[in-house]
Symmetry: C2
Subunit: 320 residues, 2 copies
């Protein structure tokens, strides 16, 4: 019996609360990518929307609820994508949004947060420093703190991707999901395990930010002192216990990949699918590259979760 | 009274004949692109599918009809995208597909045509040379010649994009459409003029391949001796009279743009939308760049019609 904090009826209802611009995203076979990987590869593209990542699904849900409750402000810590999405959804609903981000977050993400009219506060340190600052702001101002992965709406928003994958589950053996805080993995994983339990759910994280993956394998929270990865979107150090419990219920495996594989994955997605992606979105391809025998001949789908990347960084990594 | 070779009932029915992987493509506002262009910009993305261009909509329709008629082979001339799409649709339906292309077509397109199991014949010269050779093959073998833009199915397949745009027409003042042979422009234009006549339809072609645009302005077919543009997908020299008639009925304007503007458009689409596009797909943005006053404050939508480009060429044009 599948038991997580997520609820299938609420996930189905979430579709009605989310702007259609974020829903029913392309899911398509990419033969050239599959040829390069030695498997049958499909891509679920979550970047062709106003915020260029999947996070809008969750922020639409959160901000809709806040409006229903008559509230008018929210704050979040963000590596960038959640902040942009919350700023976008909040603006549409007349909410004052504050985003706390690391000074080291990609400028491309920070610029768009500002452009949406959100208040942007930058902190030294990494995502966990930003999270602490967001907690302080929420307490002082008495406004809603949106916590990625901990707030079940962020997971259930992401889970609507799972509903779309399930419609085509007969053609998919394995779904590869970027693992950061866990909203995407637990959301999509919950729906797949509930409605298409034969589909394998594999989460992928960088060796340079392995906290959640280590926690999954040891079945208890493991934190790390630091992170060292170009995949800024998944670089957390402190897994949330409740999210780990959910992940233990839905993931079939969690694997770590090298930075070089992430870059090779970005390169393949550009060359064979014409997609510029941020590092987190290449984690699934990286996992196939590191263990080709495991995926040989399998029908894999990977979620392209974001394309927000500084182009200078991108070119330095991927090359001409 | 709108009079073209296209028929709205057939276009609506076409949706049922086309694999859903080509339908209901993303249409989303891109604030960063709009900020850069001084208008409100939305993107209709026709590249997130198995053939990375809009051509699958037409080839699905053609090959479905061939199967219904019990026929088992087809040939087309192609700058690359139609060939890939016909090879993909034909393979799914067990049709033997032959594609005739110019030796100078992008290798990225030619490789994918071969990978789909189609017979690929390369000719010296440009698209019009390939077209003549395809005519010969069809006659000799007694198989169906698929002629882009002349065959109404290719126009009505493309026209299904128009149905999707019409659903959101209340937020669009102007649609900018790449103009080559005319299938895309007459297809989308027909539906817009039939169902959302207030939306302005502007076709865009390179100065280096201006035959159809000059023909539209003079209201009679004008041919050119040669073409000179990086936008290989729209580089024809001999407009088809029946297609010109249709275009005269549906287009509000047809404009020519410089190569430098096409490249600047590709650069903006990469930087502000994260999209790698082939030159033809940047024609709409190029038109806004060349005449900013005309579009200032307007709500434009442009169709990103293809992303099949040699990366070496792309980097040489767009730069790091």
């Amino acid at each position: 019996m599948l038991k997580t904090r997520l609820d299938l009826d609420r996930i189905r209802a979430a579709r009605r609360a989310i702007d259609p611009v974020f829903l029913d995203t392309p899911l398509f076979p990419c033969d050239a990518l599959g040829d390069a990987l030695g498997c049958t590869a499909s891509v679920k593209l979550e970047t062709a929307n106003p915020v260029r990542s999947f996070k809008g699904r969750g922020t639409e849900l959160v901000t809709g609820q806040l409006r229903d409750q008559g509230r008018d402000a929210a704050v979040c810590a963000s590596a960038g994508n959640l902040g942009w999405a919350l700023a976008w959804s909040g603006r549409r609903r007349g909410l004052a949004v504050t985003v706390v981000a690391s000074r080291h977050a990609p400028a491309a993400k920070l610029d768009r947060i500002r452009a949406q009219g959100a208040e942007l506060e930058l902190v030294d340190g990494d995502f966990d420093s930003a999270r602490q600052r967001a907690v302080d702001i929420a307490r002082r101002r008495g406004i809603r703190l949106v916590e990625d992965s901990l707030d079940v709406e962020t997971c259930e928003g992401a889970a609507t991707i799972g509903l779309e994958l399930v419609q085509r589950a007969s053609g998919i053996d394995t779904v590869l999901i970027a693992l950061g805080g866990g909203a995407l993995a637990t959301g999509v994983g919950h729906v797949l395990k509930a409605l298409a339990p034969g589909v394998e759910v594999i989460c992928v994280q960088p060796h340079g930010a392995p906290a959640m993956t280590r926690s999954w394998h040891r079945r208890r929270v493991v934190t790390t002192e630091s992170t060292d990865t170009i995949a800024d979107g998944v670089a957390g150090r402190h897994p949330i216990p409740a999210v780990l419990d959910d992940l233990l219920a839905v993931a079939d495996d969690a694997v770590l990949v090298q930075e070089a594989s992430i870059i090779a994955g970005m390169r393949l997605l550009l060359r064979h699918a014409g997609l510029v992606v941020e590092p987190s979105a290449a984690l699934g391809v990286a996992a196939v590259l590191e263990d080709p025998d495991r995926f040989a001949g399998r029908r894999i789908a990977t979620i392209i979760c974001g394309s927000n990347v500084n182009l200078d960084d991108y070119h330095r990594w991927v090359g001409p």
